[in-house]
């Protein structure tokens, strides 16, 4: 049993502190460079949100819509993905849902201003891209590309 244990640990050469410090410094430096590069060159410079749709985002967060709905497939699954609901269903359809709720979705009694802001936010999301997975093609290397 002792031989078995010591043979199993034949890889137990001690790592030097200097080597570990160099590796972790390099990793942290790369991570910080990556992070600050992303912050300074955010992917989309066009289609910035207006003041109205920004207020709409706050309404979205205030009523926690992401708990049940998804944007780009991320969120809760009790309700449908709303990324492209604006172009797919239209403003009036969305407003009808917001005014009455459904058997599952409560009526949040939103004010007209909140409703319009929220619809403006959904319009802004809709203009950013398509979330439908059928719009992607699969490449031989396993990556995907949107048509």
């Amino acid at each position: 049993m002792d031989n078995f244990v010591s043979n199993s640990f034949s890889f137990t050469t001690m790592a030097s502190d200097r080597q570990k410090n160099i590796i972790i410094t390099l990793l942290i430096a790369a991570f910080l460079l990556y992070s600050f590069y992303l912050y300074s060159t955010l992917p989309v410079q066009r289609y910035r949100s207006s003041e109205v749709s920004d207020r709409g985002k706050m309404v979205w967060q205030r009523y926690n819509c992401i708990s049940c709905h998804q944007i780009y497939g991320l969120g809760g699954y009790l309700g449908p993905d709303l990324t492209n609901v604006y172009s797919f269903r239209g403003k009036d359809y969305i407003k009808a849902f917001l005014m009455t709720g459904t058997p599952t979705m409560p009526n949040f009694n939103l004010s007209d201003e909140d409703m319009n802001d929220l619809i403006s936010y959904l319009n802004n999301i809709d203009s950013s891209g398509k979330s439908d997975p059928r719009t992607f093609t699969i490449k031989p290397d396993g990556t995907i590309e949107q048509k």
Binding site: Y39, R48, K57, C68, I71, P103, T104, M105, G142, T143
Partner: protein, 451 residues
């Protein structure tokens, strides 16, 4: 740890309520609709992980150094800040007061005590380590987890600045960058503790200082930093984020699974039995690493992710890792830390064994049902003639019924396991207090008789 166990129980209760709302839409709609239930469930479970990890690390650090923490006062203050924040968060959810994002739905003001508490913990932890030279890998993992949780938690609030939220793509890129790495940060805290526990069980301290242990740690850290893009393959953001994520995503669970499997093979039977219940949970976590690894690898390939994204397969992955790996490891720590309390557990061995098997089997059924539901939704997402969303959800109802029932069984199994732990700690505390009062009374009586 006890606070964490209570949060685990609460989280499971909210989870069952949410599952019921899938089967009966409109269930508790007026009082506790799903936009309240989901964050109640998620936040309870996330804070179980955080409280459990913090409690474990604090105790294991003291066992490792052989000394008390640098400042008990700072630790109490930290605990007070965390507890106050968590209580305020859960109460705010009940009243439908939100304002944050997914997973941190609470008003951003409540993030302040969490950050302050975490800073206190970080300071206390660092000051409790006398030297950073030649430390084992778990010290590195704990420190990594501490720093990166703070960084990613602050990063997750960049949306407060209009610059970061001026476009949904920018907003979601940064949001999921923070979330992806944040999960890696708390995994570091838990996996570090698991290596410490394995060292305790085996009695061999060489592994945690070896080159292989550090190689695996650095690879895990590399994943934490760069693989987060696998959450946003379908978001129209920078392609290089996705390519980097694809390249690094598949390695971390393999690495950790290797660590666990290698360790098991070297422990003798006598040492295995020494922490029997704790060891049993390490074994269970090992199995769930293997299952979650298989699913995670598949989901990390963009060509497969395009099908699984937005389906219950993602939920299966989350549940498999959060319950099967993180929670089972935390339960191993709980049994290790709370086993040697003032009252013995030996009489409860059969009951604990029952709870263990009920939890594992029901989790497996739960997991499989989520995958089946996910596959069904994926078919619907890809179909050319989609039926309406609510009709698709009706078709998934049999899966949701199984999910609810297996969830109830899991809740029963976990209660069987955690109730004796909590009860023991409460009774031990009451015993200690009673002895203190008795001593105080005796001292007062002696002082009176002398006078």
């Amino acid at each position: 740890m006890v606070a964490g166990l209570l949060l685990l129980g609460a989280g499971m209760l909210f989870g069952l309520t949410g599952a019921m709302q899938y089967i009966r839409p409109g269930f508790l709609k007026e009082a506790l609709s799903f936009e309240k239930t989901r964050p109640l469930h998620v936040s309870s479970v996330v804070f179980w992980i955080i409280f459990g990890a913090v409690g474990t690390m604090t105790t294991y650090l003291q066992q490792y150094t052989g000394k008390k923490l640098y400042s008990h006062l700072l630790f109490q203050l930290q605990l007070l800040l965390f507890s106050a924040a968590v209580l305020a968060i859960l109460v705010s959810y009940f009243f439908g007061v939100f304002g944050g994002r997914e997973y941190w739905e609470f008003n951003p003001v409540l993030a302040i005590p969490i950050v302050l508490g975490w800073l206190l913990f970080l300071f206390n932890f660092i000051k409790s380590i006398e030297s950073f030279k030649s430390q084992p890998v778990y010290i590195w993992m704990w420190l990594t987890g501490l720093f990166f949780f703070l960084f990613t938690f602050l990063e997750s609030y960049l949306w407060i600045f209009p610059y970061f939220r001026n476009n949904i793509i920018n907003d979601m890129t940064v949001q999921w960058k923070s979330y992806g790495s944040m999960v890696g940060a708390w995994n570091m805290l838990i996996y570090g503790s698991s290596i410490f526990l394995m060292e305790k069980i085996s009695g061999n301290k060489d592994y945690s200082r070896s080159k292989i242990a550090f190689a695996l740690y650095f690879t895990g850290l590399f994943n934490l930093m760069f693989n987060w893009g696998h959450h946003i393959y379908t978001l129209p953001t920078y392609p290089f984020i996705k390519h980097i994520s694809y390249a690094v995503s598949m390695t971390e669970l393999v690495i950790f699974g290797r660590i666990l499997f290698k360790w098991q093979s070297t422990v003798s039977d006598a040492r295995k039995l020494f922490h029997q219940t704790a060891y049993r949970f390490l074994v269970a976590a090992d199995v769930w690493v293997f299952l979650s690894l298989g699913l995670a690898i598949l989901m990390s390939i963009p060509a497969i992710n395009v099908y699984t994204h937005g389906t219950h397969i993602t939920v299966a992955h989350t549940m498999g890792t959060t319950i099967g790996i993180n929670s089972f490891l935390l339960l191993a720590f709980a049994f290790d830390l709370l086993y040697d309390s003032c009252r013995p557990f030996s009489m409860l061995k059969n009951r604990l064994r029952l709870g263990y098997w009920i939890t594992n089997i029901s989790l497996f059924i739960f997991w499989i049902s989520l995958i089946i539901a996910g596959v069904w939704k994926a078919r619907w997402q890809m179909s050319t003639n989609k039926i309406p969303f609510n009709e698709m959800m009706l078709q998934l109802k049999p899966c949701f019924i199984i999910i609810l029932n297996s969830g109830i069984l899991m809740f029963i199994g976990i209660l069987i396991l955690i109730f004796p732990l909590i009860k023991n700690q409460v009774l031990c505390y009451l015993d200690t207090r009673a002895k203190q009062i008795k001593n105080n009374n005796r001292n007062a009586a002696d002082a009176y008789s002398i006078d």
